[in-house]
Symmetry: C2
Subunit: 319 residues, 2 copies
C-alpha cells in the first residue's frame, strides 16, 4: 500500500478493518449511499461528537489508534448516559494530506476495537480532506427508557460508575514525559483507552431518575443535571478521590480533588437514584437536595457539614 | 448578542432556530446527551456527510445560510437515494474563532430551512472549535425497502429526477462574478440551494432496481451503480443537456455535456427501472446493457449508435 491510496482503495481498506461479523441488526454496511439497520421496538438514542486536532487532542501526544479509540468511546458514552444499547456507529473523518494509509488504518483499528468493546460496529462513514484531523462520530442506540438530565429529586443519592480525574492526569503525565512511571499507568491508560460505561447505563436504567456522562468534568456535567432538575447536588470529597488518582496527582504535584472535580474525558456515568436502589457497579459520591433559594448547582460538603459551591469549569490541561 | 457568546448561549440560540414543531417522532431534542426518536416498524437508513472549508466550499463564494442549507441537503440526499423518509438530522459544527454568532445563526437558519424543505428537523448536534469551518451532517430515515446500487438489470432504463450540471456551472459563474446575469440564475440557484429528491426516491422505491444520488457527478455516480450491478450503462447525450444548462454553459464558454456528465452536487436521483415503469417526475436518460467482456461501466451513445466510454471523473471546478 502506498502512503496515500485513492479514496476508493481507502474505503475498501476501512471496510476490511471494520469488518462485519453478521451479528447485530445491520442490513447494509459500508459501500452504499447509507447504512441500513433493521427496525426495532424501542426508542432510538442518537448522538454526534467531534474530536478536532489542536482542540481535543494533540497529534504528538496521542497515537492514531488511541485517537480512533477515544473518538469512538466519547460518542458512545452519550448512549451509556441515556441507558441505551448501541446499534451502530458512523465515522466522519477529515484528514490532511500528511495522514498516511498507515495512520488511517491505525485510526480505524482503534475505532473498531472501541466499537467491539461496547458490543457494536462501525457500519459506515465519510472520508474528506481538510487542514486538520477531525473525527466526527455518530452513534445510534436504543432503550425502552431513555435517561435524561432533568429527573433528579431531593433525597436521592448521586452515584458514579467509572474513574474520575484519571484521564486528565494521564494527559498531563504524557505531556510531561512521565507516562512510563509505575504510578502513572492507570491515569495514562484512562486517557488513551477510556471506556464508555454501557453496562453501567443499562444497570441504572430502571432505577435512575437522571444520568449524565462525565465528558467535561464532574462539576460541569453534574451541574447540567442540577440545573435541568432544579436541585442542589452536594458531593462528598472523600468519595471522589481514589488511591490511583492520589498517586497520579502526586507525580504532578496536583490536587487530586481538583482533577476529580474538573478533569474531563473519563466518561464515567453519574446517576441519581433513590437511597436504597444503588445499581451494581456504582459508588455513592453525593446527595441531592432542594435548590437553595434560587440557585441550583453543585457544592462540596466540607468537614463539619459546611457546603462550599463548586465552580463549574473544566480542568485546564495545559495551564 | 455579542460576536461570540459562550457555548451554552450558542446552543440555546441554535435550539431556538431549529425549534421543534411537535410533529415527527422526536421524543428528546436539543439539550440532553443525545436525541431520542420513537420506534418504528421499518428499516433505518443512516448516513453521514462532511462539508469542509477549502475542500467542499470557499467561504468567499457561499453565504453562511447557503452553506448550512447545502450541507443539510448533501446528507439528506443519501436518504433520497435509498428511497427513505427522513426522521431527523444531527449537525456537528467545527467553527474557527472568527465565525461570529451572526454567522452561526445564518448557518443554522440555512440548515433549518433545508430540513423543513425535506420534511424533517435538526434535532441535535455538536459544537467544536477548529481552524477551518466544517459541517458534518448525519441524517436518519426509514423505508420498508431500501434501494441499493447493485440491482440494475440489462434491459432496464436509466432515469433521473433533478438537475444535471447546473450546480457546477453555478459555482463557476459565482467565482467569475457573473452570478447576476439572467441566464445564470437557475445554475446559481442550483449551487446555492440544491434539493434532496426525497419525493422522487419515494416515487421510485417500489419499482427501481438500483438508485444513487448525483453528488460527485453523473459519470462517477452512475459508474458506482454499473460496477456494483456488473452492467454497462449507456447514456443518451441529448437527454442529459437541458436548455437551462446550455444557456449557463454558454456564459462560461463551457461544454454543457461535460458539465452534465462530471459536474457534481446537483443531488439529482438516478434510478434503473423496467422500461414500462418510469416513476412520476423522472426523465429517461439511458439504458442498461450487459457488461461488455469484463468491463462494467458507463458509455455515451453517439450518433450512428457508436458507444464511447465515459471517464468516471468529477468536474474540475477551478481548473
Amino acid at each position: 500500500m502506498t502512503a496515500r491510496s485513492s479514496e476508493r482503495a481507502r474505503i475498501d481498506m476501512l471496510a476490511r478493518v471494520f469488518g462485519a461479523d453478521g451479528s447485530g441488526r445491520t442490513i447494509v454496511g459500508i459501500g452504499d449511499d447509507a447504512a441500513v439497520i433493521g427496525p426495532g421496538k424501542e426508542p432510538l438514542v442518537w448522538t454526534i461528537d467531534a474530536q478536532v486536532e489542536g482542540i481535543h487532542f494533540r497529534r504528538d501526544l496521542v497515537s492514531m489508534a488511541d485517537l480512533g479509540y477515544r473518538a469512538t468511546m466519547a460518542a458512545t458514552s452519550d448512549l451509556a448516559a441515556m441507558g441505551a444499547t448501541p446499534l451502530g456507529i458512523l465515522a466522519g473523518l477529515v484528514l490532511p494530506e500528511d495522514v498516511t494509509d498507515e495512520d488511517l488504518r491505525a485510526i480505524a483499528e482503534g475505532q473498531h476495537e472501541a466499537a467491539k468493546e461496547v458490543g457494536t460496529q462501525i457500519i459506515g462513514g465519510n472520508l474528506a480532506r481538510g487542514r486538520e484531523i477531525s473525527i466526527t462520530t455518530t452513534a445510534l442506540g436504543e432503550t425502552p427508557r431513555p435517561l435524561g438530565r432533568s429527573g433528579a429529586k431531593p433525597g436521592e443519592v448521586v452515584a458514579i460508575a467509572g474513574p474520575l480525574g484519571l484521564s486528565a492526569a494521564g494527559l498531563v503525565l504524557i505531556e510531561r514525559g512521565r507516562a512510563e512511571e509505575a504510578d502513572a499507568a492507570p491515569a495514562v491508560r484512562a486517557y488513551r483507552r477510556p471506556v464508555a460505561r454501557i453496562a453501567a447505563g443499562l444497570a441504572a436504567r430502571d432505577v435512575a431518575s437522571a444520568a449524565i456522562d462525565v465528558s467535561d468534568g464532574l462539576a460541569r456535567d453534574v451541574g447540567h443535571v442540577a440545573r435541568a432538575s432544579r436541585v442542589l447536588v452536594v458531593l462528598d470529597p472523600a468519595a471522589l478521590v481514589t488511591a490511583e488518582l492520589t498517586r497520579a496527582a502526586a507525580l504532578l504535584g496536583a490536587d487530586p480533588l481538583a482533577l476529580a472535580l474538573h478533569g474531563g474525558e473519563d466518561y464515567a456515568v453519574v446517576v441519581t437514584v433513590p437511597e436504597d436502589a444503588l445499581p451494581p457497579g456504582f459508588t455513592r459520591i453525593g446527595k441531592v437536595f432542594p435548590a437553595e433559594g434560587r440557585s441550583s448547582g453543585v457544592a462540596l460538603e466540607q468537614e463539619g457539614g459546611t457546603r462550599v459551591p463548586v465552580e463549574e469549569r473544566g480542568y485546564d490541561h495545559f495551564g
